[in-house]
Symmetry: C2
């Protein structure tokens, strides 16, 4: 990975990025859920056992937010990682103690319109746990700056 910021001209379909790891703990899972997704399967170990999740699991939105942090750390885009929209699929539960990383691939590039300052780049991300299981996929449309002329 380079430390130089990447402009839309620097990207190509098939280009890949891999993030570092992030561990997720039970206390973080419960704190996130308390603020944003207060449901028993995200809040309480005992109550979670009787639910579809069969044990404490992170809110899908917690997984998405953590994935965003890993993207910010691993996608060195000029101007930052700026999403217009995203499709997320939650594939498997994230459990306390899991360590996640993100594998990203550029799948589509729409160059800037003539005179435009930004293109749209579609990046497919897989969030993967320490067992190699994909817990989430997301397909994000990002605004990426063109290289300044001169």
């Amino acid at each position: 990975m380079t430390n130089n910021p990447l402009y839309v001209e620097d990207l190509h379909v098939g280009q890949r990025f891999v993030s570092g790891p992030a561990e997720i703990g039970a206390e973080e899972i419960k704190a996130f859920a308390q603020a944003f997704d207060p449901q028993p399967f995200h809040l309480d170990d005992e109550a979670a056992k009787a639910t579809l999740f069969k044990g404490l699991a992170a809110s899908g939105w917690h997984t998405s937010a953590l994935t965003m942090r890993l993207n910010v750390e691993s996608l060195p885009l000029a101007g930052g990682v700026i999403g217009m929209g995203v499709e997320v699929d939650w594939i498997a539960p994230v459990r306390p103690g899991d360590t996640l990383h993100v594998e990203s691939e550029v799948v589509e590039i729409a160059p800037p319109a003539p005179g435009g300052r930004r293109g749209v780049v579609v990046i497919l991300g897989r969030t993967v746990n320490q067992k190699g299981e994909t817990v989430q996929t997301n397909k994000a449309r990002l605004l990426v700056s063109r290289r300044p002329s001169g």
Copy 2:
């Protein structure tokens, strides 16, 4: 709105739900960004002015997470609000001091398979600010329990 939990049999296409309000403050915006989306336009009032956002704006993932809390409060689904996946579009920036609410509509229902315990319900949500502007849309696929027989 009813306090009785709703099963998939209780839902119909066109059914609507409206959440209560949630205010979002500058300190919350910065704290969320510090944890999950540490970029200048979400962290620092001054630095944000020179960016695409032209001022401090909430992370899109913060808006999504807050939308989830409003959904948990306003969608009285039996078994909880359990998403399989979602399509999110971030339409307009969320600013410090904004008050958001969510307007949801059932747009599709796939009943449980014979012998299955859950159907899939697609809900289109609009997150709206105090000026009536839609800041986010999201189309979520939710697992919804069938009414227990007997």
